[in-house]
């Protein structure tokens, strides 16, 4: 309805501007006059509607509770809320019957109240739209009216609003993680969480149950994360990624490079769930056999090595393209000078190019580490659940991301220490990756500036 009025007013403004144009030049094209009018009609009315809808829910609740059926409801707040919720769903025909018998009787009241308040809101919005339309149509426009400028001010606001969403997302992440973590630290002391050596997130329902004291020491989780993501994966990814970048930029022919590079990029595009399945199905049993044949009795079929190896392979294109960029940023004159002095190509690469490109490579490696420790599916599928504090890569370790998934995918209450612990882990993970990213970005930027 509001939109209808808006388009009508916009159309009238457009034709009036067209008529004006026959009398001489306008400042703005007629279409801008139309858009200008439509915007002024539609935006305030929609804002009113948007502000009305949360108020409406509250008013409906009040009205329903004031009705005779509502007065009969139990006083206990959570029970009353759940009955109201069901009544709302019945009124919307989302469910046939509620769990609570009271809700069926309440449903017609909800529908009635909602209908009443929705029509109040709607009429208010229409009135506002009509009012704006009246003002716009009655005011006389001269040729010099700058409709384009006005429309563009709206557009500018829209653009700015869109770019603010990034900030809101960051804020949302920080606030939601922080909020739930604080609630967790009320249950479990923060020092126990950060420095505890044992992790077994079992909160007993009764105090006398066996194993009633859950342990939330996160050290084993972080050790497992570092072992898989920062040690094993990097041992695979750094040499392979760096050498591939060197080969592709320095040795390979133009044609080979044009083919091999996109194919390597496929490695980065394969979904992580595929890597995880591959690691669990093919790599892990193989690693276990190797471990046993080497005489390691404790070799697990969920070894840290299997997850780390596959993760390393996944990271290769990432390291390779970062190294590629930083090698390409080294000025040609430096390698030319080295070659002119009689150094061979490999000597030039090792003694001139790599030292010069080192900051960029280090920045790339830091970004790769941050990606590896935040990686979830490979470790969920291929690494274990037991929180072991071990340096043996054939044994099973668990990671932060595995535990977050484990804690949040069961069927428990949202407020239990288990689910809140997941948010605390997420907060620490977020902070670690944030610091790594910031360091890496600064290093890379400084390094780029050094050669520009």
């Amino acid at each position: 309805m509001v939109l209808l009025i808006a388009s009508a007013v916009g159309g009238i403004a457009f034709t009036r501007a067209r008529q004006l144009r026959t009398g001489g030049r306008l400042h703005s094209l007629p279409v801008y006059h139309g858009i200008h009018a439509a915007l002024w009609v539609v935006v305030p009315a929609l804002l009113v509607l948007a502000a009305w809808s949360p108020m409406q829910t509250r008013l409906v609740d009040q009205a329903v509770l004031a009705s005779p059926e509502g007065k009969a409801l139990p006083d206990f707040e959570m029970q009353r809320d759940s009955i109201l919720d069901e009544a709302r769903q019945i009124a919307h025909h989302e469910i046939e019957a509620g769990f609570n018998p009271e809700s069926t009787a309440l449903a017609p009241r909800v529908a009635e109240a909602e209908g009443r308040y929705a029509s109040i809101g709607g009429i208010a919005a229409i009135l506002i739209a009509l009012g704006a339309a009246g003002v716009l149509l009655l005011r006389k426009r001269d040729r010099e009216f700058r409709a384009r400028t006005s429309v563009e001010r709206w557009m500018n606001g829209l653009l700015f609003g869109a770019s603010l969403i990034a900030i809101f997302t960051t804020l949302g992440i920080v606030l939601s993680l922080l909020f739930e973590s604080l609630r967790f630290f009320q249950l479990v002391p923060i020092t126990d969480f950060l420095f505890g050596l044992s992790w077994s997130p079992q909160m007993a329902i009764r105090a006398d149950q066996a194993g009633s004291s859950g342990a939330f020491g996160s050290i084993p989780l972080f050790w497992g994360t570092i072992l898989i993501g920062a040690i094993i994966a990097m041992i695979v990814a750094i040499p392979l990624g760096l050498m591939s970048a060197i080969y592709l930029t320095q040795y390979a022919s133009q044609r080979a490079r044009a083919i091999i590079k996109p194919v390597l990029e496929i490695l980065a595009g394969v979904p992580t769930v595929v890597y995880g399945y591959f690691a669990a199905l093919t790599v892990a049993p193989w690693i276990r056999e190797v471990g046993i044949s080497l005489g390691i009795e404790s070799a697990s079929s969920e070894s840290a090595l299997a997850a780390g190896l596959v993760m390393g392979i996944m990271i290769i294109p990432f390291v390779s393209s970062m190294a590629d960029d930083s090698i390409a940023a080294v000025p040609q004159a430096m390698s030319d000078g080295s070659l002119a002095l009689g150094a061979t190509k490999s000597e030039t690469i090792r003694k001139v190019l790599l030292p010069a490109a080192l900051p960029g490579v280090v920045g790339g490696v830091l970004l790769a580490v941050s990606r590896a420790i935040g990686e979830t599916m490979i470790v969920v599928m291929a690494a274990g659940l037991a929180a072991n504090l071990t340096a043996n890569p054939f044994e099973s370790v668990t990671t932060v991301t595995v535990q977050i998934v484990q804690l949040l995918t069961g069927d428990q209450e949202f407020d239990s220490a288990k689910t809140l612990a997941a948010f605390a882990l997420g907060l620490v993970l977020f902070l670690i990756t944030l610091v790594l990213n910031l360091i890496a970005l600064t290093v890379v930027r400084r390094y780029r500036e050094a050669y520009e």
Binding site: S163, T272, I404
Partner: protein, 302 residues
């Protein structure tokens, strides 16, 4: 006198000492080149091995029925249609939100923003969001969309919202690069004939930058399509046998379906899982191929 003669002997090209040193240097040169070649070879071999394994294990599971049936506890009647439909709905929501917002904020940051503390903050948070682990976005979705806004669990709507927040920074970064690549002469010419700043951007810069933006968007969408972890967080892991009919129905998506099947004990599900992976990889390849085609077809060098 003696040392000079020794040095002369050392540096004579035809001398034995020089020749052996040269041989050593050339040997290490060849070794280094070989190492580089081996690194590329190992990576490519791994990729071939991975794809080969999936094809070998899953080719038998591909059939028309597999594509048209939905999830089931019986491997004989389990298919991916429900998951495909869920993935499609989720991606549509993601695209519908992330593309306009991403493009608009890229335009704002490149063309309109004056450098001040606000725009610096926006830039830092966009660059950082692009590197935040995906599971963190899942936690955000769980805390904000499910527990705070009470949107329906397991629905493509929530999945799409979460993935949109994740993909948006990728689109912004790609969009900014594409807009930067449009030469200033185009803007100056348009300004010169009386266009306003907004008209310059929307009539001239944006159409020229669009292929680049689309390439980045498709790559971001392919990533969102393969994403699993954040969707597990918002509850898209329930067993759902009926394909979703709207964006608020509970549904599964293809990567999560793969994850769920990989947990099944029944041996027959190994084939199903691999077949589902083939389907997923085909979609990814098509999307990436489309992106590369767009880049090659419309790329302009000024």
């Amino acid at each position: 006198m003696n040392s000079v003669a020794a040095e002369a002997a050392m540096t004579r090209w035809t001398g034995d000492a020089m020749q052996s040193r040269l041989r050593k240097r050339y040997r290490s040169e060849r070794l280094f080149k070989l190492l580089g070649f081996a690194a590329v070879g190992i990576s490519l071999a791994f990729l071939a091995f991975l794809l080969g394994t999936m094809l070998w294990k899953g080719a038998g599971g591909l059939s028309l029925g597999f594509l048209t049936m939905s999830d089931s506890t019986d491997p004989a009647t389990a298919g991916v249609w429900g998951a495909l439909k869920g993935s499609f709905l989720t991606i549509v929501v993601t695209m519908g939100l992330a593309f306009p917002v991403g493009v608009l904020s890229a335009i704002y940051l490149e063309e309109f923003a004056t450098r001040n503390r606000w725009t610096d903050m926006i830039e830092v948070s966009i660059n950082n969001l692009a590197a935040v682990p995906s599971i963190i976005f899942g936690l955000l979705g769980l805390a904000v969309f499910l527990n705070f806004m009470h949107l329906p669990r397991s629905a493509p709507l929530v999945g799409g919202l979460t993935l949109a927040l994740m993909t948006m920074p990728v689109i912004v970064i790609a969009g900014r690069n594409a807009i930067q690549a449009v030469p200033p002469s185009i803007r100056e010419a348009a300004l010169g004939v009386g266009a306003s700043k907004m008209q310059v951007v929307f009539h001239h810069v944006l159409p020229l930058a669009l292929p680049g933006i689309l390439t980045g968007t498709i790559i971001g969408m392919a990533r969102a399509l393969g994403e699993t972890a954040p969707l597990l967080m918002i509850g898209m892991r329930a067993f759902i046998a009926v394909p979703p009919s709207g964006i608020t129905d509970p549904s599964s998506v293809l990567p999560v379906q793969i994850f769920l099947w990989s947990d099944e004990v029944d041996r027959a599900f190994v084939e199903k899982t691999s077949a589902a992976i083939i389907v997923l990889l085909v979609f990814m390849l098509v999307m990436n191929g489309l992106a590369i085609y767009l880049r090659n077809r419309f790329e302009q060098r000024w």
